[in-house]
């Protein structure tokens, strides 16, 4: 019996469809638990789908660049290449809100003249607001609930039924307030891209995660192995208390050291920029170049409201408000983008952990870690890319850089140059890497 792979919760219950960005595996490939199988795009954000268990990829149902329902089965992991039977494999193509419909079948149905889009919309979990609330209170995953209404909508009574018959879905027990117990284990590092070539090491910013590098990481992955670390309390990394900036630097350096990279091109954004700088300062021989995108640590000023607001935001609406602070062009923060971003932060435990970390690192609304001296000590080629309309950090901090650091101060760009000016940012980084 093969395991069907779906985007599952990563797609977020708000998503109706997703786009296959890249397959990292082919049919017949053996995979270990945690290996990245493919990258999908929901809204404008990229998400890696990992293997839940070891096995062999026995079927792939969706082509690159195709748009499929969020709940569609994307591929199968079997015991061997011939193992293609799976639970729910006989499910009808349309009218089912179960997650067991292969994407190819849905796509085929979609191409058929009749009911061209019905399949897509019916694949979203349709549940009444009351049912959603009850399900989340009871820790029931809506995907395991059957709708009894002819409307196809999951209603309250279905949740009541499910909470009696089905056990609560593992891992989704309601999070109580307060800090979770510290989780052990190393930071999560996602690897993708070419096997040869100089490695690229990416460090994201506060309240973000390794997915935020999309699509920059994909471009770089064409010719480099790309490593994206998730900071503690972010993305797929463990949640634990961070006692200060130095603690954080140590964690990132441990993850970097574990990879044993040589001549790495390190790129960091915001808080990740400060960490990248600290990393380069302490591992000068391992770092070939440094790109700092709106980096922290170059001055005391930081938008404290932003730090606490974004970490806390428990609703898409409030998150959207803070996402808008990050960018100059507000239209970038459209509804799908917000929903994708929110889906990545849906866990209350994650938000609580980040809030706490934000309070520790940016106590009194101040960046108390100063890396200006480190910047002056650097001798690897370094670029700072910063938007002059940044409302989170003060771009003028860049002016303290020594003469050998290249400054790219972009007009009409805010705090996220790689999102707001992706081509320009990629061009600057590629040129820097090539120059070495």
């Amino acid at each position: 019996m093969a395991t069907p792979i779906t985007a599952g919760a990563v797609a977020g219950e708000y998503m109706e469809t997703l786009v296959i960005v890249e397959w990292r595996v082919g049919i017949g490939d053996a995979v270990a638990e945690g290996d990245v199988l493919l990258t999908i795009e929901t809204a404008k954000a990229a998400v890696d789908i990992e293997a839940p268990s070891a096995g062999v990829v026995s079927a792939i149902f969706a082509e690159v660049d195709s748009e499929v329902p969020a709940a569609a089965v994307l591929c199968l992991i079997g015991n061997d290449i011939a193992d293609v039977d799976y639970d729910g494999g006989e499910a009808p193509v349309t009218g089912s809100s179960s997650s067991s419909t292969p994407a190819t079948a849905v796509m085929a149905a979609e191409r058929a003249a009749e009911a061209p889009r019905a399949a897509v919309s019916s694949a979203r979990i349709v549940a009444s607001p009351a049912a959603r609330r009850a399900a989340s209170a009871a820790g029931i995953d809506l995907r395991v609930v059957r709708a009894s209404s002819p409307s196809g909508r999951i209603k309250l009574r279905d949740i009541a039924g499910a909470s009696q018959s089905a056990p609560a879905f593992a891992g989704s027990a309601p999070v109580s307030a307060g800090l979770p117990v510290d989780e052990n284990g190393p930071l999560k590092v996602h690897r993708s891209g070419a096997t040869g070539g100089a490695p690229v090491f990416l460090i994201h910013g506060f309240a973000s995660d390794s997915l935020s590098w999309y699509p920059l990481d994909r471009q770089l992955a064409k010719s480099h192995p790309v490593y994206r670390v998730d900071l503690p309390n972010h993305g797929a990394s463990p949640k634990r208390q961070v006692s200060g900036f130095a603690d954080l630097v140590r964690e990132v350096r441990d993850a970097f050291d574990a990879l044993d990279l040589d001549g790495a091109h390190v790129i960091g954004h915001s808080l990740g920029g400060a960490l990248a700088l600290a990393l380069a300062d302490t591992r000068p021989r391992k770092v070939a170049s440094l790109t700092l995108l709106a980096p922290g640590g170059l001055g005391p000023k930081v938008n404290g409201d932003f730090i606490s607001g974004i970490a806390r935001a428990s609703r898409p609406e409030s998150l959207a408000a803070w996402l808008k602070v990050m960018v100059r062009d507000q239209t970038l923060v459209d509804l799908p983008f917000v929903k994708a971003a929110f889906a990545a932060r849906a866990s209350a435990a994650l938000r609580a952990a980040q809030s706490h970390m934000g309070e520790t690192l940016f106590a009194d609304g101040t960046q108390s870690f100063d890396l200006v001296a480190a910047l002056h000590r650097l001798d690897c080629p370094t670029r700072i890319i910063w938007g002059r309309k940044d409302r989170v950090l003060d771009w003028r901090d860049a002016l303290q850089a020594p003469g050998h650091v290249g400054l790219h101060l972009l007009p009409d760009v805010g705090h996220v140059p790689h999102l707001e000016a992706p081509d320009l940012s990629l061009g600057i980084i590629s040129a820097l890497i090539k120059s070495i």
Binding site: P129, A130, S149, S151, K155
Partner: protein, 325 residues
């Protein structure tokens, strides 16, 4: 308690308030000598004289504007507009006069007048004499709108409306005038504006209605009961300001809402109710709010056509069942 007809209850309220307060006066078409085409002001001219119970020319637009300024200058006018269908003639005075000055002039003036009118279909009065234009007056800020369904509420609310400091549009229904009900005795029994009333308790679906639609909703509840469905019927009584607590409380219990109004569907009063429920009770909803209202068209005269377009108990029950499915 005395059993009275709805029209008699209104008549009693007018009489008592006129006796209590000499600044209350009535005017409108055919209300004096004839006692009003629905006989609501019957006998009042004889009792209070034709200065305070005044027949007017057919001049709704000016009458309404005059009610506004008469109210600003010391009297409490009660204006009867014979049919709600003529409210559009009053709208300029309501929208551009009555609703603005208390605010603009920082409370220097109160505008205590009542505009009574009646609407609704069902008796073949045709497209210009059968409409329910609740939404038009409910759209206007600063104006209260009530629509009682029973003789007791008709009396208690009319008395409250006459004593109110703000303009109140008082919506009656031509098919309610002859309905009977118990009315509490005593001239100080008032029904507060802004309070809904649960007329049938139930736990499966909440039906929100006003005026004659309350009767339809009660009948719908009886139909639903045959299928084991316990509908709760809320008589809104006041259309603006809305009794949000009553709405929230009922939906928290039933998780299903059917909103009923005899007016047009599009941008109608039922739409406002639906939006309000969506805003305040979203997480309690187990199905989309169902609207039962008039189709968006002129009301036809012929009986089978008119009956087909009017909201009724059967349509309400069907909407409730669909929501519960």
């Amino acid at each position: 308690m005395t059993v009275m007809r709805y029209a008699e209850a209104l008549n009693a309220a007018l009489r008592e308030e006129m006796q209590r307060d000499p600044s209350v006066f009535l005017f409108g078409e055919d209300i004096g000598r004839y006692g009003g085409v629905f006989k609501v002001s019957k006998g009042l001219r004889d009792e209070f004289g034709d200065a305070r119970v005044r027949d007017t020319p057919i001049s709704e637009q000016a009458l309404t504007a005059m009610a506004v300024t008469a109210a600003m200058s010391g009297t409490r006018p009660v204006l009867e507009i014979m049919y709600a269908d003529f409210l559009p003639l009053s709208l300029d005075a309501l929208i551009n006069q009555a609703s603005v000055f208390t605010y603009l002039w920082e409370g220097q003036v109160d505008i205590p007048f009542v505009l009574r009118t009646q609407g609704g279909g069902g008796v073949g009065t045709g497209a210009q004499h059968a409409k329910s234009l609740d939404a038009m007056v409910c759209h206007i800020p600063g104006i209260k709108v009530v629509a009682p369904a029973t003789p007791a509420d008709a009396k208690g609310l009319l008395k409250s409306a006459i004593r109110d400091r703000q303009p109140v549009v008082f919506l009656e229904h031509k098919l309610l005038y002859n309905t009977r009900g118990e009315v509490p005795d005593g001239d100080e029994v008032l029904v507060p504006i802004g309070k809904a009333k649960t007329v049938v308790e139930g736990k499966h679906v909440s039906i929100f209605a006003s005026s004659k639609m309350v009767i339809e909703a009660e009948n719908a509840a009886k139909l639903l009961a045959k299928d084991g469905i316990e509908a709760e019927v809320i008589d809104l009584r006041t259309l603006r300001p809305l009794d949000l607590d009553a709405i929230r409380g009922s939906i928290a219990k039933t998780n299903h809402a059917v909103v009923v109004n005899e007016g047009w569907t599009f941008c109608g009063y039922a739409s406002e109710l639906s939006a309000t429920i969506m805003e305040h009770c979203f997480d309690d909803l187990d199905a989309p709010v169902a609207r039962v209202a008039m189709p968006d068209m002129a009301i036809p005269y012929s009986e089978p056509l008119e009956m087909a377009v009017l909201p009724n108990a059967v349509k309400i029950a069907a909407a409730a069942k669909k929501a519960l499915a």
